[in-house]
Symmetry: C2
Subunit: 89 residues, 2 copies
DNA sequence: TAATTCGTCAACCAAATGGTTAAATATAGA
DNA sequence: TCTATATTTAACCATTTGGTTGACGAATTA
């Protein structure tokens, strides 16, 4: 799907959509390939698998395992400043 | 876990943590119960299951099924303004 | 060759986010 | 009863986000 095709259904400028697509590309959620003047965008269907797995485990681990998981995420470069993974009780 | 316990490991004010916990409560990710002057916070381990399922399906559906899924999310009140669920190619 | 299309860049602006401090309120402890 | 603790509220501020318009360059079309 071309950038203009992606933009078409949205009530906002092509510039804004282009910016969003740049972010999605950097995040690894889509891939972009330029052919001539058109940039073709392709969703990466596996991009959210790791996040999905993490969400499934959300709240399931013992506290000590959360620390291990945080280390894992840090190693993967996936740990943001605002992650708040405290398990209560 | 009490609010002050949650705040303890973070290098930021108790006020900021309290604000975050309010957001997490509204999002349904944690539950808060006040006993005396202490507010006890508890993670809801199932809170991210729906999001996890959606992420697993990310990019897997035919286009027409994406529309159906969007309808489902809208019915669930889970559809944000910034969702961009285009499948390329 | 000129016009059009595609997409990005630069510059700008409003709104939202994410934090702070000081003050206030409610509850517990001395 | 007074002090301390827990938490929130109000007000504020800096940064980030999310959008715009106009201009530009590359590629395509007429």
């Amino acid at each position: 799907m071309a950038v203009t095709d992606v933009a078409d259904p949205f009530d906002m400028s092509l510039t804004a959509v282009s910016k969003h697509l740049t972010i999605l590309t950097k995040a690894g959620l889509i891939q972009q390939e330029k052919r001539g003047r058109v940039k073709w965008c392709k969703l990466d269907p596996t991009a959210l698998q790791e996040a999905s797995l993490w969400m499934q485990s959300f709240g399931q681990f013992e506290a000590v395992d959360l620390d291990g998981f945080e280390s894992f995420l840090a190693d993967q470069g996936l740990l943001g400043q605002d992650s708040l993974t405290d398990a209560a009780d």
